[in-house]
């Protein structure tokens, strides 16, 4: 079964990497790299992506002519998706375990951040025939 692990962080919260000292940044990046390699090595990783900062995000809508109408930047106070993992695992418990590991990624000063990771199942199960 596949799960998506979403790292949502509030704007202005702990995950403000732009203000971290270099040492903390390197440690954090190293953790994320090792974490992805480990998941791939376990045969569980489907995808892992970090997203560009919310100040570059655009909200897009189709106009009357079907062309995109882009809408400005999100206010900083809002929660935003910083990155996600998609894993293919044997049980929901295993997905939670992976999420907990991601949650403990080192932040400023090297201490675990214990961020909240939202875990949701990806629709990929076979259907059951109703007689």
């Amino acid at each position: 079964m596949k799960y998506i692990l979403m790292m949502n962080t509030p704007g202005g919260g702990a995950y403000q990497v732009t203000t971290w000292p270099r040492e903390d940044l390197i440690r954090h990046i190293g953790f994320m790299k090792t974490f992805a390699t480990k998941l791939r090595g376990a045969g569980e990783l489907v995808a892992a992506e970090g997203l560009a900062g919310p100040d570059q995000a655009k909200r897009v809508r189709a106009g009357a002519d079907g062309k995109p109408i882009t809408d400005g930047v999100f206010p900083e106070s809002k929660e935003f998706l910083a990155g996600y993992w998609i894993v293919d695992v044997e049980s929901p418990e295993r997905a939670y375990q992976i999420a907990a590991e991601a949650s403990a990624a080192p932040g400023k000063g090297g201490a675990p951040m214990n961020m909240a990771i939202e875990v949701r199942e990806v629709m990929s199960a076979p259907p059951v025939e109703t007689p």
């Binding site: 045969g43 293919d88 990806v122 990929s124 199960a125 076979p126 025939e129 007689p131």
Partner: protein, 420 residues
Amino acid sequence: MTETAELETQHLLRDLAPQVLGIVVRRFRDFSAAEDAVQEALIAAATQWPREGRPESPRAWLLQVAARRMADHVRTETARRQREQVVVSLVPPDEQVTLALDGDDPAARDDTLELLFLCCPPALSPASAIALTLRAVGGLTTVEIARAFLVPEATMAQRISRAKATIKASGEALGMSEAGQLAKRLDAVMHVLYLIFNEGYAASSGDEVVRTDLSGEAIRLTRMLRGVAPNEAEVAGLLALMLLTDARRAARTGPVGELIPLDEQDRTLWDRGAIEEGVALISETLQRGAVGPYQLQAAVAAVHDEAPSAGATDWPQILALYGVLQGLSDNPMVDLNFAIATAMVHGPAEGLARLDVVAADPRLAGHHRLDSVRAHLLERSGDRAAAVALYRRAADRTASTAERNYLLAHAARLAEEVVE
């Protein structure tokens, strides 16, 4: 080379894969390395044969290439171990050509069964056993398996190599299963084949047209298993179950991939050939005694497939079969099906009463199938509003896109009727 010829090559390679692997494992006694070597030989054949023509003896060709890879592997290993100790026998590649055996060699037959046992040990998770079985016995490439399960190739490659490491660590080897364990090991293999079949079911009802035909592969492997274990009634039952279920494939989904339930399917789209084969197989098997769960499920599928219309379905027969199945297995899904059959024979009120008993099973707590079955029975009893609410709750709880779409659409249709 034409597309047909390419497909023929692919089929030939997949059939030869376990035979060649069995021989190489026996000779070199290293399953993990032998499996890699055979995979490389298969990939080499798939690229070279279309270009240069199929060799006179395809099996000898594959054996020779695989043996050469093994010799390379042994040489590397030997160097790595600084010639301290050679753990595998080094046979010069030229001599490997003589390893080719005749088509109906009993040793090759045993090998296939042993390879299946080796790929499906209790220590392996189902997902790992599935991947390894498809590669080692099914002859599929890592890319094909990765595509079938929608994961990256690197991840699938790791899953397979970890599976092999687990097997190696457990000390399993070819020909090690004891006679007393046979039934248990066969159960594990059948379960893995059944899961592969079910995955194919998801693919054929979804929008993933590029996915490898896993149902077809499961049927092929089960035929192979039946070939090497012809006296096992449950293997015949499993094959019949797959054939009788797969026969409905074309009728099971509509133009946009939406699920069509059994009682609304266009029965002229059912595969008559598969139904005939499945019915003949299950009829013959049931007469032999020693009935089991796969045979009973196949018998239920046969009753559905033989009914000229949904209304003409022999529900008393299905109810009786589920009754026997309940006695043989402790599976809440069987209990749910028994409740449905009860409703079809004795009316929805009795079906719902039966369902209340079944619902106490903690394994069904919060399960979407409990909701969808209750909705189905409520709909039959005329309580449409309650049915709509439960269909919607089931839709929220299922992890299958096709099923969710079906449940939502059905609830919407029913809700419109309620308003009218």
